[in-house]
């Protein structure tokens, strides 16, 4: 029989279910963790091998100096837009359905950023010198802008994750039966007084506003790493918004997958309802269309510009060496998601999850077909060599993915993955708030609330 906390079910009622993942851990958790950590160890071994011999152990060459690692960097940073951005926008819009999904989203952001940064470190020829970016910064370099905006984003989104976590940590402090000291420390004296609540809500709103421009700047700057060079098909003004849209797109997709897993594993069907998947699915559909619009604009302007250097890259994607990857990307980023999400009947949990998995594959391919084809077709007529990754790059890529999933699982074992206090607050206050809000939109009956000459009786 599974362990349950007596005291919490008295105080929280049915919501005690949200503490269950922290209270009791099934053996399948340990099995999965072990498998994931196996990948981590393998990636670590690969990295040590690379440190020992140099980047020669990768498949990188001249002129394809960037490959899997930089693709992963852009991909992971893209996924980080799941959380903070979506959660912040939904919070600011007072979208009531956000309450049970914001936490799951914010955790993705904070954790995945480490793997974005990790990908860059794995890509360095001299990782032990990485602090040179602080000692000898060159502010002309878009890579340094990246360092600044990503670290700011990590800081802001960590705060943004922590603030709404405080009342829940206090619940764990009061009703939990382990790590009391840890939770007491983290709850920084939360007692849930009126004043504390007011300050917390204010702080969350401020952070939500702050975090949006930071998040947008992060992926814009990532795109500028490519856009600020003169290389064919990188030097594009559309890259900023194109990357931001792609980032949010893959971010929503990973959020949907995370939510589906959480709901299934921790029996939270009552909190992460079908309607959540339907709403996020609609959002995903919008971004699939936006993604297509940007991709199409980028390609057609390149084609009409007819610069031979650009066309070389263009045709390598459409009909050449990278055509299979490119068209797989079009199918997985656009055709599959739109055909699933475009119909209410298939916008179910399974439907959105299938679409999301397809989008994650497609968006990784999108990043790859941005990085590699340009590099393999430089302006100087170079000998034809092609890039294919080695076991080290594949190992580190899989290891990063697995370690991310492991850390996410670990988080659910220490903190509630659905915000308890926000769900409760919603249950207590939302109805009244929404009724008032809707009333405030409604035109009142004629004659009421009509001061001023504009609304004077026309018969006079």
């Amino acid at each position: 029989m599974e362990k349950r906390l007596k005291s919490s079910s008295d105080a929280l009622g049915a919501d005690a279910l949200l503490l269950q993942p922290i209270v009791a851990t099934r053996s399948s958790f340990y099995h999965l963790a072990l498998i994931l950590l196996g990948f981590t160890v393998f990636a670590f071994f690969g990295w040590l091998h690379q440190l020992r011999w140099g980047l020669g152990v990768t498949g990188l060459n001249v002129p394809v100096y960037w490959g899997f690692y930089i693709t992963n960097f852009v991909f992971f940073i893209g996924i980080s837009h799941a959380g903070t951005l979506i959660s912040a926008i939904l919070r600011l819009c007072h979208a009531e359905w956000r309450r049970s999904i914001t936490r799951a989203a914010e955790v993705i952001t904070v954790l995945v950023l480490f793997f974005g940064v990790g990908s860059i470190i794995a890509d360095l020829g001299r990782p032990e010198r990485m602090f040179n970016v602080l000692k000898h910064p060159n502010f002309h370099s878009p890579l340094l802008w990246d360092v600044c905006s990503v670290s700011m984003y990590l800081l802001a989104s960590s705060i943004y994750l922590y603030l709404p976590l405080i009342p829940d940590i206090a619940i764990l402090r009061d009703y939990g039966d382990k790590y009391k000291r840890f939770y007491t420390f983290l709850s920084i004296g939360w007692r849930g007084t009126e004043r504390q609540r007011r300050i917390l809500n204010r702080a969350i709103s401020v952070m939500a506003v702050l975090v949006i421009p930071i998040a947008i700047s992060v992926h814009t700057v990532v795109s500028w790493v490519f856009g600020m060079t003169v290389q064919p098909m990188w030097h594009s003004t559309i890259f900023g918004p194109y990357f931001v849209v792609g980032a949010i797109f893959s971010g929503i997709a990973s959020l949907i997958i995370a939510m589906a897993l959480i709901r299934r594993i921790y029996f939270l069907q009552n909190y992460l309802k079908d309607i959540h998947f339907n709403h996020l699915g609609t959002l995903l559909l919008v971004f699939a269309l936006l993604w297509f619009y940007f991709t199409f604009s980028e390609l057609i302007t390149t084609y009409y510009g007819h610069d031979p250097a650009h066309l070389l890259v263009f045709y390598s994607k459409l009909t050449g060496r990278y055509a299979s990857l490119f068209w797989t990307m079009v199918v997985t980023c656009f055709i599959i998601p739109v055909s699933i999400l475009g119909r209410r009947r298939t916008r179910t949990v399974t439907g959105t999850v299938v679409a999301s998995l397809s989008i994650l594959v497609g968006m990784w391919l999108e990043r790859f077909t941005i990085v590699v084809p340009t590099l393999s077709h430089p302006r100087v007529p170079w000998s034809k060599v092609f890039y294919s990754p080695t076991w080290v790059e594949i190992g580190i890529t899989l290891g990063f993915g697995a370690t991310f999933i492991f850390l996410y699982m670990l988080f659910t074992k220490f903190f509630p993955i659905v915000s308890i206090w926000e769900v409760r607050e919603g249950r207590e206050m939302a109805m009244q708030e929404i009724t008032e809000r809707v009333h405030s939109y409604m035109p009142g009956p004629a004659g009421e609330h009509s001061p001023g000459p504009m609304s004077a009786d026309p018969s006079v």
Binding site: V62, N138, L144, W382
Partner: protein, 234 residues
């Protein structure tokens, strides 16, 4: 202050690759094993670039020695996050091996693909180790390196001139590739000095800069030979 530049007369160049070999020995450029070369990891600060034009049977081939172009506005310098690469007041684009973090952003930003990365620790088998030039640093693994216009030769020439109590004269300082060129197709000197041979060639109607339309302002100036004049900016 001088502004060092190179002129390569493509009408005289025989594509013998002596410049490539001279550079290799002068600058301790490492040898690459055949498997590595097959992966495209060929190391050469100067290379002779073949360009095939047309399709068989109407086909022709042009050859062009390509060192670092030592651009006046180099795209590589702007992008380096740690200022490991820069341009000297005399216009030579340099690389600081001890600071480079090996991110390879500069190699990707260079439109000429003239920057090399040390995938492994550079190897100098057998006698080659004894043939290393003591005036040039052997690079560690994981950093980017590039043509320096044989900067160490400039330092030596300066010292010699100072010891003789005279100013640096034309011909005191030439890079190894220019010195070796059997066809005398390469010239080197001060582009600022209107009397110098390179400045004179730079004014020639045959003169063009490779990919000059990108606005990189290279200080390597080519003198066109029929084929190369077409399509490239004059």
């Amino acid at each position: 202050m001088p502004r060092w530049g190179m002129v390569i007369d493509l009408a005289k160049c025989t594509a013998c690759q002596a410049c490539v070999v001279a550079c290799q020995t002068e600058n301790n450029v490492s040898c690459v094993e055949p498997e590595q070369a097959a992966m495209g990891r060929i190391f050469a600060w100067i290379t002779v670039l073949p360009e095939v034009k047309g399709i068989y049977p109407r086909v022709s081939m042009a050859m062009m020695p390509l060192p670092c172009q030592h651009c006046d506005s180099p795209p590589c310098i702007r992008v380096c996050p740690v200022s490991a690469t820069g341009i000297t007041p005399e216009g030579i684009v340099r690389q600081t091996f001890a600071r480079c973090i090996g991110c390879r952003y500069c190699t990707n930003a260079c439109p000429y693909t003239r920057r090399m990365f040390n995938w492994y620790k550079p190897e100098f088998p057998g006698e080659l180790r004894q043939a290393l030039n003591p005036d040039v640093t052997v690079r560690p693994k994981g950093v980017v390196e590039k043509c320096t216009f044989c900067h160490h030769r400039l330092m030596q020439a300066r010292e010699r001139a100072a010891a003789d109590g005279r100013k640096l004269a034309e011909g005191d300082y030439v890079p190894a590739c220019v010195e070796i060129c059997p066809a005398s197709a390469m010239y080197f000197g001060d582009l600022e000095d209107p009397e110098s041979r390179v400045a004179e060639f730079a004014r020639s109607p045959r003169a063009f800069r490779y990919l000059g339309e990108l606005g990189t302002d290279p200080k390597v100036i080519y003198l066109a030979e029929g084929e190369w004049a077409g399509g490239k900016e004059a």
